[in-house]
Symmetry: C2
Subunit: 136 residues, 2 copies
């Protein structure tokens, strides 16, 4: 049983077979699937599941803070179940593979007050880009 599904159930989420397979597909580390990929994998176990349901379910998981939305390539958004440990992303420019990474220090602290233009800054997303070992 996935931790993700347990946490969602604990929040009073109504558990259906569709939501179950979506949560199960999203279980694991360094998982960064697009909605269509989630749909394809979910459909292996539950062939009738619709695209709309996958989109709705992913959207709800994001709203509940249990899944992070990541867009590293300007194309389809990706969904990252590792939402409870702050992290950033490292992307291979050649093959597109994504790793979760943990920079040292607090990236927010790098933005001086004079560079904040009166904003109340609360969040920072960092995407490192390079070439992975397999593609080098």
């Amino acid at each position: 049983m996935s931790d993700l599904l347990e946490r969602l159930r604990g929040r009073g989420w109504r558990v259906t077979s569709q939501r179950r397979v979506v949560a199960e597909v999203l279980d694991g580390d360094h998982v960064h699937l697009t909605a269509e990929e989630v749909h394809a994998r979910a459909a292996e176990r539950l062939p009738e599941i619709s695209r709309a349901t996958v989109y709705n379910t992913l959207g709800e998981m994001v709203s509940l803070g249990e899944v992070m939305e990541v867009s590293t390539d300007g194309r389809a958004k990706r969904y990252d179940p590792n939402a409870h440990q702050p992290h950033q992303h490292l992307v291979c420019s050649a093959c597109g593979i994504i790793r979760d990474v943990h920079p040292s220090g607090d990236p927010l602290a790098d933005l001086p007050p004079a560079e904040r233009f009166g904003f109340t800054v609360s969040q920072v997303e960092v995407t490192y880009r390079g070439v992975c070992a397999s593609c080098a």
Copy 2:
């Protein structure tokens, strides 16, 4: 005359009225227009300009390194003519306005070797998020 257009001409770019208006629309600081916005503003001066030409022209400017592509919201890409000074972006979560900002230090140095997974890391993009003074 925009500096951007001058630089492009200097690279042997064929200057047409369409490319001229696109370059002029993109002139200035803190400019982050979508392709459709560029098209709309260009069409004020050159009503017959087509969407395809705007997309092609923006793509060429990006390839030449004279304009940066920015995607801060997972929707339309935005085009930033401030490509010659390294910078990051600060986005208002409420109204979506974008400012160019300059963090202190080198963000690349914050990623320890043990967190690089064998990648050759060459680039880093940082998006700060918060609420701007007008929206607070």
